[in-house]
């Protein structure tokens, strides 16, 4: 039975249900319980934003706090995955990939291929991404394009509490390394989530709004921005179809192309920087495989090619908003040869 819970609660429920179901599932990361070795409460934090709160006491010995030592514990999660565990490791902010990326892209991503198909590495690396919390340049980035580039990794970005739960369960049961991106501005958003366990398969985009005039391809937090824009545009008679990619690797090309065949006009909305982004990737896909259907050049809405600024006055300009999406849709609908 579905009830409204938050994105954070949905993730916690997914972890709880999988840990109950499968004792090889373990959780590790900085402050994932919190308070380890300190005189106060254990499970003091449950992760810096509370996603793993409560697991420590429910699953003794299976929720591990770590030193601030990402190379060692992300690598340990990967090593444990090769040895029969299903670890869910938290790389607190994706910005910290710089201190441990080797373990992810040279080790986990390559074992299966490099070892001739003999390795299975069922690790989940949870990580927070995105701007909006005034967290500035080193705690706000959207680095999913970098991971998407690497063969051997799966990259997933749930936009709703429903997807957060179903995709986390899928990620834990998946036998490949999964990088699980959680937008920090979505944790408190609520939505209907079934109590029972379920999975959302990877590589299946979700058409979250149907419309015949323009296709908006988007992902993560930008799904909500795009839906806001689509609602505004509908009031003026422009019907947008909003496609939530949900996963960037694997990528559901068919759903994107099918929508574009129907509308002929495309806006791609991506919170990452514009160069070598998901927006450019989707644009290239459409240009290659649906060129004949296009009635206007593709518009991309991205954050600018700058670091994420701190000041609210600047960050609010930095993050793509509904108005920019509306403007882009007007550009593609107004375009004539």
């Amino acid at each position: 039975m579905a009830r409204n819970i938050t994105y954070r609660e949905a993730l916690n429920e997914a972890l709880t249900q999988e840990m109950e179901r499968d004792e090889s599932v373990i959780v590790m990361g900085e402050d994932n319980a919190g308070g380890e070795g300190a005189p106060g409460e254990h499970d003091a934090w449950g992760g810096v934003l509370g996603v793993t709160k409560g697991l420590y006491h429910k699953f003794p010995g299976r929720v591990l706090d770590t030193p601030i030592s990402e190379s060692a514990f992300i690598g340990a999660a990967i090593g444990a995955a090769t040895a029969g565990m299903r670890p869910v490791a938290e790389l607190m902010f994706v910005d910290f990939m710089g201190v441990c990326f080797d373990q992810i892209y040279n080790q986990a991503a390559k074992f299966r291929y490099m070892f001739g198909g003999k390795a299975v590495t069922p690790v989940v690396i949870r990580t927070m991404y995105g701007a909006g919390l005034r967290a500035a340049a080193q705690h706000s980035q959207c680095l999913y394009p970098l991971f998407t580039h690497i063969p051997g990794l799966k990259v997933v970005l749930p936009a709703t509490p429903y997807d957060a739960k179903g995709m986390m369960i899928q990620a834990i049961r998946d036998n490949d390394p999964v990088i699980f991106f959680e937008h920090k501005a979505l944790y408190d958003t609520a939505g209907p989530v079934p109590e029972e366990s379920y999975t959302v398969p990877f590589g299946e985009a979700n058409v979250v709004r149907e419309g015949g005039d323009v296709t908006i391809v988007t992902l993560g937090r930008m799904v909500h921005t795009s839906l806001d824009a689509a609602a505004q545009l509908a009031a003026s008679g422009v019907e947008c179809e909003v496609v939530d990619l949900r996963t960037t690797s694997p990528l559901d090309e068919d759903t994107v192309l099918e929508s574009v065949e129907g509308t002929g006009r495309v806006v791609v909305v991506d919170e990452a920087h514009p160069r070598c982004s998901i927006a450019t990737d989707i644009s290239a896909l459409i240009a290659q495989k649906a060129f004949g259907a296009l009635q206007a050049p593709i518009e991309m809405v991205n954050a600018p090619h700058t670091p994420v600024p701190f000041s609210s006055a600047l960050e609010d300009c930095y993050i793509p908003d509904a108005q920019r999406v509306v403007n882009a849709v007007k550009t593609v609908t107004g375009w004539t040869r």
Binding site: A76, M85, N106, F115, G152, K154, D174
Partner: protein
């Protein structure tokens, strides 16, 4: 350097095993050295000859529960952990019959079914992984241990130091084996390692640190078996530093202009195989005939490995796209 005076008693079978492992590594590496010179072996090859006592002396105390992670110079670790030499040779030749079906090569030979988590093309890549396999063994209660081999170069990587700290914090059944062969590529460890010994760093993490004559199989065995037994019993990690010299360059083709005649001296005076043979025949534990029989057996095995590798099929274009994911 002198041999250890006292040692734990090894059975005749263990001594034969140890010699067989060291001889197999030596023969494998000497042969790859010669074959590489003909131009038939592609890519980068880093040979382990001279360091055999380390792999053999450590792995003699390991079993199927245990995992190891290796380095660029990984052939010796693979052989000592039981990876098939025929498949290894085929892998080095890039053949479809190789350990990794020709997709890994010398720097990535692995066999997870043997607990061999791969040679590693990244210096310092292995220790974090071994924290993970040791953690898995601890949680599952198998009694298994994880052993991270790394070089003097790898000893300076943050990954290695982070892993030592994590292993101590989590009290993991992990053993860190620093194989100090004197050079990280062409740079002397006497310069690049700021402390006098790599093993000195163990104190900073609160674990035992041991320095061993890496040419002395018995010394290696003593130190490693003690560390492994301690880890199995929940006593936590140990750092063991082997001091020795590699007989070949950093890679095949290295002119080694950074060093003088130390290899000649090591081969003549310190060689692990020669010292092992002298010792066991002197004590009467094994006879020269025992050793000769192993030499002949290994010689034939390596001959066959090279012959089969050269005759084996190459991977096909269809293989290019397989095994990226379990399911995509």
């Amino acid at each position: 350097m002198t041999d250890t005076l006292e040692r734990k008693t090894l059975t005749r079978e263990q001594l034969l095993d140890a010699y067989r492992t060291m001889r197999a590594i030596r023969e494998f590496e000497e042969r790859v050295h010669r074959e590489f010179a003909t131009g038939e072996i592609p890519g980068f090859v880093h040979l382990y000859a001279g360091e055999e006592a380390s792999a053999a002396g450590v792995c003699l105390s390991l079993d199927d529960r245990d995992t190891i992670a290796s380095t660029h110079r990984g052939h010796g670790h693979c052989i000592a952990k039981g990876v098939d030499v025929g498949e290894m040779m085929a892998e080095i030749y890039g053949r479809r019959t190789g350990s990794c079906h020709g997709k890994g090569g010398s720097m990535h030979i692995a066999d997870l079914s043997k607990g061999m988590l791969g040679a590693n093309g990244i210096v310092g890549g292995g220790p974090p992984l071994i924290c993970g396999t040791a953690l898995a063994a601890k949680i599952k209660g198998t009694g298994g241990v994880g052993v991270a081999f790394f070089g003097d170069g790898g000893s300076n990587q943050g990954t290695t130091l982070e892993s030592m700290n994590l292993a101590c914090v989590w009290n993991l059944p992990a053993i860190f084996i620093a194989e100090n062969n004197g050079y990280a590529e062409s740079t002397a460890s006497a310069w690049s390692v700021a402390s006098d010994n790599i093993a000195d760093r163990a104190a900073g993490f609160g674990m035992p640190g041991v320095i061993v004559d890496g040419f002395d199989f018995f010394a290696v065995y003593e130190a490693a078996s003690e560390a492994i037994a301690r880890a199995r019993q929940g006593g936590g990690p140990t750092l063991v530093e082997m001091k020795f010299t590699r007989y070949f360059g950093h890679f095949e083709g290295d002119q080694q202009t950074y060093r003088a005649d130390e290899v000649e001296h090591a081969r003549a005076e310190l060689d692990c195989l020669a010292r092992f043979a002298a010792r066991v025949t002197e004590t009467g534990e094994l006879t020269q005939a025992d050793l000769d029989a192993i030499d002949a057996e290994i010689g034939a095995e390596i001959d066959k490995a090279v012959h089969d590798a050269k005759a084996a099929p190459l991977p096909t274009e269809a293989d290019l796209l397989t095994d990226v994911y379990v399911r995509y």
